[in-house]
Symmetry: C2
Subunit: 254 residues, 2 copies
DNA sequence: AATACACCTTTACGCAACGTCAAGGTCAAC
DNA sequence: GTTGACCTTGACGTTGCGTAAAGGTGTATT
């Protein structure tokens, strides 16, 4: 397949000026140029552009990118794995930021106090590095460096004590839920307490909590027999009740 | 607490030049200036700078930020919620990109084929907007604009047909799992097929798939009675088998 | 009282990664 | 042969600072 500037540009979601600029700085030359001076890109250029955009997304400068992809010892395979790792780190940073925003919202609602120092957490990448320092090494030794990431660390660090906690929590959820069912009001205090406990329980297993995922799970509890039957074991309609409580808790329903 | 440029800069993790620049463009003026011309920042400025950095992290231009925070009708609460939404969208995009990288890795290993168009998925922000255009309005009408987000849309758009698909898929998972159990090898073809189907099934409920979350769920199946009992209903040890297959599938175990 | 030294100031040019005209050539179709 | 959607090469503008340059300030120590 052959592409003109515009064609390739719209395919990749960049401007034609960008492609001309990349040509200008020698980052991405067209496969050939017609007698009238038109730039024509081929398959190899498509793949190369993809690589470039990957690196650009990571915040690398174009000069650095050029060095990387023109390196004769450049290993595309390895670069991609490296890539993926960095993206995961970036997502982790984003999660920190989201947590920070949520904390700030809570703060502005007057629920919690924040020190000046806390207010800037999540902006500094340091936090991730520190985490790595704390957990990374020992696990790396055990399992090899490739399989290590923060989520992993979270699970492997789950001690016997935490296991007991999570079991107790699961019991508490069921108990609160039974009580709440009597009120028949998922928006009520007990219903919301059950939803909150359920969230707490979830965070033992998920490394990123999001309201969306929580709400999605709640719906799954009703939609899917395998979950529904568990919750409805005690009393019919419990799965629906829990779903409604969580949907209200997460703000997807009032 | 009062801060000089340097003090505030190092507190917030920016340069003093940045603070001077923000002063210059009228984005963040110091609380007062000493007789010798030193800039002195107070509590209000600390909070304001935090706001500015939040918006900056989103990629908003300083002019836009200025408009937002100097707007007399500026509602911090609402802005923060808006904020959070954008961050979640950004994370969604990141997830797309990560999926893309993984696909590319698979592609370069010769496992799958990728079209040129697929190669650039996740780079374009447009996709989100288009999604909004397609699904946003009708749902917004039904539920009010605040509760709308993509995950929501995803669920609500689940048609009868999709519901049948997901049910069929669940059945397939169980069936494949039963077959796979006979081989007693979670790393084998059938075991991996079951894990793959399980992933496919999951994506109907989760709006962001990640290997970490998938692996976490797998562990949950074994750790928690309510899930374990469902899977072990047919044959004892099925939950463990599925967990192992998924852990291998997601690369957390070989 | 002088000196050192870490802070602060303004002014000003530099940079990346394009956006945005301007002025003009090309290509396929009608 | 002319219309209109493409392409070309300049060249200057923009954003968000970095980075000197040249000089004033605050305070501790000699």
């Amino acid at each position: 397949m052959e592409y003109t500037v515009q064609k390739l540009a719209s395919l990749a979601g960049v401007s034609s000026r960008t492609l001309r600029y990349y040509d200008e700085i020698g980052l991405l030359k067209p496969a050939r140029v017609t007698s009238s001076g038109y730039r024509i890109y081929g398959q190899a250029e498509v793949d190369c552009l993809q690589q470039i955009l990957f690196y650009r997304e990571l915040g690398l400068g174009l000069e650095d990118i050029k060095e990387i992809i023109t390196d004769p010892a450049f290993n595309a395979q390895k670069a991609l794995t490296e890539h993926r790792k960095k993206l995961l780190e970036k997502r982790e940073q984003l999660n920190q930021l989201i947590a920070n925003v949520e904390k700030t919202i809570a703060h502005s609602e007057g629920r919690t106090e924040m020190s000046d120092k806390e207010k800037f957490e999540g902006f500094k990448k340091k936090t991730i590095d520190e985490n790595e320092k704390n957990f990374g090494e020992e696990i790396r030794e055990k399992y090899g460096s490739d399989t290590v990431d923060l989520s992993n660390a979270k699970f492997l660090k789950m001690t016997q004590k935490q296991y007991e906690e999570v079991t107790a929590l699961a019991e508490q959820v069921t108990k609160t839920l039974t009580e709440a069912m009597k009120t028949a009001d998922p928006a009520g205090e007990l219903g919301q307490k059950a939803a909150g406990l359920h969230k707490k329980w979830l965070t033992y297993y998920w490394n990123e909590y999001s309201k969306e995922a929580h709400a999605g799970l709640a719906r799954m509890y009703v939609e899917d027999e395998r979950f529904k039957s568990y919750y409805d074991k005690g009393q019919l309609g419990t799965a629906e009740f829990l779903r409604d409580a969580i949907l209200i808790y997460t703000g997807f329903k009032q």
